[in-house]
Symmetry: C3
């Protein structure tokens, strides 16, 4: 049947055209129609971790394994849980010990364990990327690893697989990267000056100059002063320096900041207390309580600056970073040992919301790793405060079941319009279409269920499907062309 036609026969069970649609025939038919309506809408990608230099340089991808395996902490974590050593996947120890450098061998090792990913979103994304983006018709298994590797290697030599060509082919309209406060934004500058017709913008991520517990904090405060010509040994100078960096980001096209904090704590200290705290944390040996309070105060300051400069504020919170002591010591951060914890938003955000919650000029987008807060805290908060919006399912919850739970738990209380569409959070441009496709299919399925249960009219569902796929992200992130 036409609607069920296979995209890639060899991968038929994964890339069936009906994948991720609900089983009930009437619901599935409605999901097909809603999906067809949004499938080809442009991609707005307001939050992710693609390398800006890759797009600016527009070089061919050197190797499949380093692009899709070695830097994907979703894959590293699960492989590691089954005893696969990170060195064997190409992750380099900090001490310079040997790691696998042969991409083909990394790829084989990954393929040998690919069955462990059955039922995970990682497999959905990778199958889509291999089949739809890289046009590989061979299902990935241990015994096909070389074949797949060779096919992809050949593809990646072609002009049409360079980053800028892929950007066009994918229909991307807006692509935000994530950049440290001290970043030169050089790649962004080069790309903008090149006359490239796409739109890649930086995102201001100041964690490593506002979190006193990050290694190197003090040196970076000094560097921040040097970069901006402000005296960052004073509270006033420090804030001015941050304002200056934000302005630089705004000039480079940024529409948003992003804040990754262990908790959602915010604080509204007096100027005097804030100043004293600043001096406490910029000395060495600050206490965890001071560090937490300083981060809390800095979220407040960032909100205040956002009211002035218009940067949309993203708050990603709730992960215990680098939980695995030994692994973090050996490899550093972002190798798959971050673990979510229970988070409180209601008391934590109150100081910030007391001051800025009623500001319609502020957009604060909150993301969570604690799904218990969806219906209990976040939907009620987003369904009330004008400044607050609720970010899409994030990280571990950016998955078919996670997306379903998000809508089931959130939309009855907050409505769809207090959410902000999809974030792909991608580490590689190659995986962006896969992630949006999964989300659009899940959106279609959820809305189809509402239509079939007569909770939405079909024209309403079509309208919301477009919102979720495109308009809400564009509006919330101020990304309109």
């Amino acid at each position: 049947m036409a609607t069920g036609a296979l995209v890639c026969e060899a991968l038929q069970t994964v890339l069936n055209d009906d994948r991720l649609f609900p089983p009930d025939p009437a619901t599935r038919q409605m999901a097909r129609e809603l999906y067809a309506h949004t499938r080809s809408l442009p991609i707005v990608s307001p939050h992710g971790h693609c390398d800006p230099a890759a797009l600016a340089d527009d070089l061919a991808y050197p190797d499949l394994a380093s692009e899709l395996v070695t830097k994907d902490h979703y894959l590293l974590r699960l492989l590691y849980s089954h005893g696969v050593q990170l060195e064997s996947l190409g992750v380099e120890p900090l001490d310079g010990s040997a790691a696998e450098t042969d991409g083909r061998r990394v790829w084989r090792r990954f393929a040998d364990h690919y069955h462990l990913f059955r039922g995970t979103p990682s497999k959905l994304w990778l199958d889509h990327t291999l089949c739809e983006v890289l046009q590989v018709q061979t299902p990935l298994r241990g015994d096909t690893a070389d074949d797949v590797y060779d096919q992809v290697a050949e593809r990646l030599t072609g002009e049409s697989y360079r980053p800028q060509a892929l950007y066009q082919r994918f229909g991307i309209e807006f692509l935000a990267t994530t950049d440290g406060a001290l970043d030169s934004l050089d790649a962004h500058d080069r790309l903008r000056k090149s006359g490239w017709p796409g739109r890649m913008v930086p995102t201001f991520r100041p964690d490593d100059v506002v979190d006193p517990e990050r290694p190197g904090f003090h040196q970076r405060i000094t560097a921040l002063g040097e970069l901006t010509g402000e005296d960052t040994s004073t509270w006033t100078g420090y804030l001015s320096a941050l304002r200056a960096r934000r302005a630089t980001f705004v000039n480079a096209g940024a529409t948003a900041s992003d804040h990754g904090h262990p908790t959602a704590a915010t604080a509204d200290l007096s100027r005097h207390d804030a100043e004293r705290l600043f001096h406490a944390v910029t000395r060495t040996g600050t206490s965890p309580a001071d560090a937490e309070l300083f981060r809390a105060q800095m979220l407040f300051e960032m909100a205040s600056m956002s009211v002035d400069d218009g940067l949309v504020m993203q708050l990603h919170t709730g992960a215990w970073r680098d939980h695995n002591l030994a692994l973090a010591a050996r490899f550093g951060p972002d190798i798959g040992s971050d673990i979510p914890r229970s988070v409180d938003y209601v008391a934590a955000l109150k100081p910030l919301l007391d001051r800025f919650g009623n500001e319609t000029s502020l957009t604060l987008i909150v993301y969570t790793l604690d799904e218990a807060t969806y219906s209990r805290e976040l939907a009620p908060l987003a369904g009330h405060y004008p400044a607050l919006r609720l970010g899409p399912p994030w990280w571990f919850h950016d998955s078919p079941e996670g997306i379903r739970r998000f809508y089931q738990l959130v939309s009855e209380t907050a409505g769809f319009a207090n959410t902000v569409g999809f974030n792909d959070d991608a580490r590689s441009l190659l995986t962006i279409p896969a992630r949006h496709d999964v989300a659009r299919r899940l959106n279609a399925g959820h809305l189809a269920g509402l239509v079939v249960e007569h909770r939405l009219a079909d024209h309403e569902a079509l309208d919301i499907a477009e919102d979720l796929a495109y308009r809400l992200a564009q509006q919330a992130f101020r990304a309109a062309p």
Copy 2:
């Protein structure tokens, strides 16, 4: 097909006869049968916030917008989150500043934003109320606001749309209002003496004379003494005064009390400590810790009095009331900025349960806004303690998805018979049928799923459907005629 016939053609997608039934055809057919069986059962409404004077006076409703929009905090909150000012919806600031007084203009404003409610229970209830109760065939949109308003205005002039006539038409058998401990119960008295054949009873809600943190607490303690002739400057006199008020409520037909506390804390202090605490909190400047302990002790005292006078005890807990500082200062409470928080029941209720948990003469009904406690705490507690029953999904969770989650999370551990049927919690009599209808449809859908999965026989499902729609509420709230 007959079973799928439309009630109101113009609103077909909302008021389809199959609305809210599961999509699978066999399950839907079973749901239709279960629903048909309970659709016309009398309504027992043991918890809500209808105005007793409206029924006693039996006057025509003056205005659609003030009745259905201005006093509905579900609507206010979502509108406010999208920047609609509460004054423009007719909510009057405490300082006497101007608010919209023209109902038609409030209604238009609401209609202009009605699309924001797509997928929310508020829209389900309102569509039902407009179409089924008020017989309006026009779907509500910005461009139909006036037309709908005019049609309703005409209806509301008719005798058959007065409160007492609606009470009969709706098939209500028992209607409890919620009344402060100092309330004169005048409307209840008048109605009872009028010879009206219906049954409206008060509910004893003593929060503002047991919570030292409520503004005006001290004056109300004095008023309590004056009203009862007890010396409420002493612990003994205070308790006697409360006993006297409870007796007055019982005489006015009350079968239940209701307690809205921030947490579920209970305490069993010695008489000496309780007395000392009473004196601490009835002086000005009491500490938050003392206030919390006093509320905890008062839940214990209320349970003790319930064992004596038979009032069923409802505990609604877990909301941070008036979270939005500026809005609460401007408009006062109940304008949509209450936010749920994480709640512990297991330690909190233990002092009360240690003393009264095994009392079969006590019924304590617990409600939650923290769905994480359904399967973890409340179903196990209600599935063990004879005195404990579990209230239906409340507030943010009184929704299609919320009701489904409730049964999925609760009934396997607590059984259906430890739940207490449905509460409409309605602010307007006009919306009562809509709320019960949504619940009965969801109940039918859930039970139908159990039948089709052969987890219940159909005769068992019919029996439980009647329990959930009617008998459990009647039994738990001692509301039998």
Copy 3:
């Protein structure tokens, strides 16, 4: 239709061959196929509470009620919640007061209340046990109680209903009991020496010699010394004694230990501090904080010993034991008043994981009663640490909806291979097949959904279905023949 044929006509709605399969016809058909594939696989039962003496002695079961009602705290709790006194169900008060001793009368009382169990897993299990295991064709109700009782009584006199015959008939391949650290393991010894071809092994459960808050702790420490010839008045001697007992369990076939702690706290104290703590808790009058820290340290010690002796470590955590004060005083533990609480794993397990989390020779299986931790904490932890696996839905959550939630919340992040298959946790051998059957049906239904949504190929689903029913338990518990 053939696939829907009834096993027992009289119980048709419960024991329909399609029971517990999803309603959608295509999904149901796939579920049938997956279930057919696993239905007859051998049973691996690595965690439960069957009486080892029953198998060793191989006597006929004396009475249906004492075997299936009086010792089943799932049944006791729900009956008690509706006012049925435990004495009337045969539970003997500690003070020697009278309890019902007539099994038939207990059974009648239970049957009179059997409708309260509609929709609970207890009823699914019992109906299966009565119909499939005990071959009773009569549905259980108050008016059939005697008839059922008589039929079962007759069956139970037969040779083929003795424990060893049932073990064979059920296709059990591995059966672990749960045994205190001081247990003589006499029944295990006798059975092993008897030449019986089955495999029953003990599990080392040292709670009552590592938890200072358990009554009798000090005497048992002394007894532990006597049993092992170690000086358990010293920290070193105490640890040696535990090592000796573990060795005895290993020699008796044990492959696992089991630890029931109130929280998941672990600690890595210096030898000096641990020693001092040991002396503190082995004196009378230890503080709750010391007791908690000692339990935490002992989990660490147990993990350390597991690395040496290979016992798989199970951690069951999160229940407030004996919450009902009066009932615990009257009847002692395990009568249905244990209540789950919120649990933190991320901080609590860190000391243990910092030392042993990367050990591939350790298997630590974590179970929870707090479903909020599935997607937030446990799936991310199990999806990263090589030593960690996630136990199946436990206790209140071992139910159709609980099993569905488990897979929905866990498998996308942890993958299926970081889970360990099913535990029946049975108190009676008679109920083991029922529990595995329910789980296998639910597994089939969940996997069928993934196939129909094209998230798994059918051959992948078949493979995983076998894993979940058999191989994962065998591997994780080192139970291979």
